[in-house]
Subunit: 466 residues, 3 copies
Amino acid sequence: MLHPDRLFPSDPTQRAIARRLYGEVAALPIVSPHGHTDPSWFAQNEAFPDPASLFVKPDHYAFRMLYSQGIPLEQLGVPRKDGGETSTDSRAIWRLLASNWHLFRGTPTSMWLTHAFETVFGVTERLSAASADRIYDQIEECLRKPEYRPRALFERFNLEVLATTESPLDPLVHHKAIRESGWKGRVITAFRPDPVVDPEFEGFRDNLAELARITGKDTATWDGYLAALADRRLYFKSYGATSTDHGHPTAATADLARPEAEKLFDIVRRGGATAEESELFRAQMLTEMARMSLEDGLVMQIHPGSFRNHNDVVFQRFGRDKGADIPSGTEYVRALKPLLDRFGNERDLTIILFTLDEDSYSRELAPLAGHYPALRVGPAWWFHDSPEGMRRYREMITETAGFYNTVGFNDDTRAFCSIPARHDVSRRVDCSFLARLVSEHRMEEDEAADLAVDLAYRLAKNAYKL
Amino acid sequence: MLHPDRLFPSDPTQRAIARRLYGEVAALPIVSPHGHTDPSWFAQNEAFPDPASLFVKPDHYAFRMLYSQGIPLEQLGVPRKDGGETSTDSRAIWRLLASNWHLFRGTPTSMWLTHAFETVFGVTERLSAASADRIYDQIEECLRKPEYRPRALFERFNLEVLATTESPLDPLVHHKAIRESGWKGRVITAFRPDPVVDPEFEGFRDNLAELARITGKDTATWDGYLAALADRRLYFKSYGATSTDHGHPTAATADLARPEAEKLFDIVRRGGATAEESELFRAQMLTEMARMSLEDGLVMQIHPGSFRNHNDVVFQRFGRDKGADIPSGTEYVRALKPLLDRFGNERDLTIILFTLDEDSYSRELAPLAGHYPALRVGPAWWFHDSPEGMRRYREMITETAGFYNTVGFNDDTRAFCSIPARHDVSRRVDCSFLARLVSEHRMEEDEAADLAVDLAYRLAKNAYKL
Amino acid sequence: MLHPDRLFPSDPTQRAIARRLYGEVAALPIVSPHGHTDPSWFAQNEAFPDPASLFVKPDHYAFRMLYSQGIPLEQLGVPRKDGGETSTDSRAIWRLLASNWHLFRGTPTSMWLTHAFETVFGVTERLSAASADRIYDQIEECLRKPEYRPRALFERFNLEVLATTESPLDPLVHHKAIRESGWKGRVITAFRPDPVVDPEFEGFRDNLAELARITGKDTATWDGYLAALADRRLYFKSYGATSTDHGHPTAATADLARPEAEKLFDIVRRGGATAEESELFRAQMLTEMARMSLEDGLVMQIHPGSFRNHNDVVFQRFGRDKGADIPSGTEYVRALKPLLDRFGNERDLTIILFTLDEDSYSRELAPLAGHYPALRVGPAWWFHDSPEGMRRYREMITETAGFYNTVGFNDDTRAFCSIPARHDVSRRVDCSFLARLVSEHRMEEDEAADLAVDLAYRLAKNAYKL
């Protein structure tokens, strides 16, 4: 099912170049600096239970499409937050995916799943109602074998390093267990402070209390709160973290005078903040985080512009991350100015900007990153982590920011088996883009070959200090 | 003039696939679920008077381009609302089109007209000052023949169904006449309530009075007004309508509590509404219409984002729909939330979203339609109903929403003879897009062949319940 | 290093057509109606001092990229406004460019520089740390020769006309000197009134005083101020100006009643205007300028949407135009309405709209220019003056506005030696776009050949009345 030339341009000149470039990068180790796999997999190394639990239930790309066509999430085994009933019949769930496989035509989900089916599990026929049970059985049989345990797959996937993402309140027990197990796989954490810096996050006040408990700092004062965060950053660093990650609704930043910041914190920690005050507090915290990054060296990632939990019914019933996060227009030029006025010219700081608003590529992000020493543009993200999305990204970023103000690829996934597929798509699309430039004599092939390795491996390693 | 490979990619691999795919759909009947042809043509079946009256005077695509280059609309025979003089010399109007034919190079208008000239009227030379009279004579001669009457053309165009668009105040006499004539052509209406749900529509208060008169309901009360609308929807349904259509300036929706809605209606019906109140009323009415759709099964189309009648001088002199409607940025994610909170998870409701703001394809519409069961994305619309526009549409929609959250093609035209041309362009562009996916091994050719028929025929039929 | 097929599509069918079309335009004279070269070069005709002074220090495209990767502007010889030290070691500056040449891979800067190195200075090896000194020496040797003086290069570049841009306060001594020198090169000025119409421009009040001094008008009154501007426009016209240029932060226009305008001017000239009042004054002045253009025939260019001097540290230290101008979202449809209501239907007025916000191409600019007689769309600008940028421009503009509502190419450059390179890129990209249309049978080749000359030469000449 996987053609060796997949994703390469059909033009023979370009395809020949793309093949050669891809040949340089196909076997490189995977550097995965940003993602959402579960560290307990690698700590406990237990077998994945069954195909539906591996490929459907946890993958919002898969179940959002099925849901959009009228299949209830309960039938897809998505666990209910409210305790309501949900299917536990994995084979039935799998059959639903199989009989609706046509819905995924032309989507990256179909490419990722097909890649995993074939390269990981040896499946050689297309998923369909007719083949559903055969493929289910084949994958399930594999999953019982030791070579399909998480650590074995990690090694087989040629993962040089894999970052997970945790809340500052997470004790990192799994990362500790991995370290103490003696296993050589490099699984590191990343510091995601949203639960303790976003006043609108569920349980924010309790989270501050928990932060105090963990760190022994007084999080009822501005200084104590900042000290607690600095403390947790160092703790995360001790478990390999090289980066922080900030999932704010907008890219707003602020640089308040100390008394104003203190006063705002006081309002926020008491729980009575207005929407504007919450936004201002998040904005201020991005600048505080940048300041701390300059001190402790953690690379800062800003992931703005998602309207989280847009579907209220789904949120109440199933909770977060259920395919109902919708991008919205995101402004960077005015939003980032306070932070950039303070830290934009720092050469020892790296802030990686992501967007879900592709308009901002050529209009805002490339011009900003093509000027400010502290800024880099993160890869095509989420809905745009796809062949067309990646192509647009290169076409709109490169001419203004070049390649070296970008940072390689992020797989950003919860779906472990999709990691090799996603990096492979990225490598193929980048090689195809470079092949076009070479074929149009906009670059020599030796330059493209050097760049191919940068884009597939070196840029991520350097930008994330891995 | 029409090359059999027009609009196919020049790459031989892709072109060969595109040809094969197009071969599967070229002869399929045309399903036209949304458009603005005049039902009196089919009711009365009179000959079209002359080439200028058929191709120039009613086609804002044609005369806006000529106007933009300094040719007065009066010289193009566009009727003046203010009673001022306008050209009635059809041959002179035609010569203006012909001698400015170069202005249309690279535009869909040139493709549509060329297609109609050649396939409908047998014209085989390019329009120019030199050929103007010959082509005029040739078309005029055809128009005198019975086989060029509207019903004969309808049949020759292989139209399976054609929807027109009418105001709730329209008595649908032409649809009645068509039905009673015994002619088999399926011409149905669609329910376009803007004149009675938009407080800023010309004559809104008079329109409410007329609505009362027609339905016998008391449109001075909120309940009576809603009942009158529900009543007219059923009347339209009885003339074949399967859809409603809403041409609001924005996508704003609201879900007011009943007392608030009643109060707002009271302000609005008295004629003293502010711009904000008018906007809120339109927003509320979208949610009311969705509620009624859930009851009567009419598919709901939302066409927001056109700044209507932007050119005040042209509006005063010539009225609506004179090529002076200009798109503007349109936000969907926040705008639709009130409606979606109430009805977004309904599997028995279909809301088709259109846009003139291509940014919203990948950022808002595809993510929304790829999640909410009630949502679908309408085809590339108006200025984007063009080869490049359709290509961008597929490239930006497909990876997130797939093909099955789209609804096939709408020709959306007032220009009857352009209908086959427009559907042909759509089929060719979709087949070319699919051919690229096949050539890049992102899909198998059998899947593409199945999809080609879906995109050309089945999706429209299913989505619009035709 | 320059391949004869560079920038042409690799598909053999398209490439063959592109070659033929380019053959028609490659040798056409260059019409450069908008740019920022220094007229003193042509007045004084002195040798350019050295490679770094020619290619690095004045080129914000070059030094912004190097700065973004951590190289201080001082090391690149960019002069400090605050009198601080900056490198004067041209060879060291050159080596910095050379050893970081990989940063420019895939950027237009690399194409422009390579084109100038090879076609102007005969360089035949790639710039690198290893070749830096050799190339430096070769260019420096050339620069000492008379045939590398500005006037000789002007002639060699086949420049039919070159427009510079000056403030109304500029006495145009260099243009006067050029005229009086008897040299035949046509170097004209363009009227850029930002310093005297933008209340937020540095030194605005002093500028008004200077305007009074130069013109003898009383710029403390609204009438006197307008008369002074009309006066300077005529003075500029006498030095060949055919256009004005307006670099506002937004596209806002206004059409205030006379007493309001007078009152606003009174606030503004006293220096106490709020941000809103300044914006309104700029908006009013665009409409005043359009009125004057209708009187004196100067073509009006509006260049909105750049957030100037975004980096405060860089602005304080180095001043304007240091690569820190960042585009931002720009709205046209509502913004231009007041001006268009007054003058949009004038056939004797030409207003050329530019954008840094590519979204506006298909959504706003093409629909506006495809309707209003007074409007044209300017070429892809600044960050979008690049192969991908130009391609997107044609793809998004053409189907709605056609080719004839565009105005050819602007090089818009301060880098004299990049002028032939930039026009060559534009010609190649346009021919490639046309070749695709021909190869897809969307246009005949004779039409494309005619258009190629229009796009490369005639449209600029006509639109700018040159």
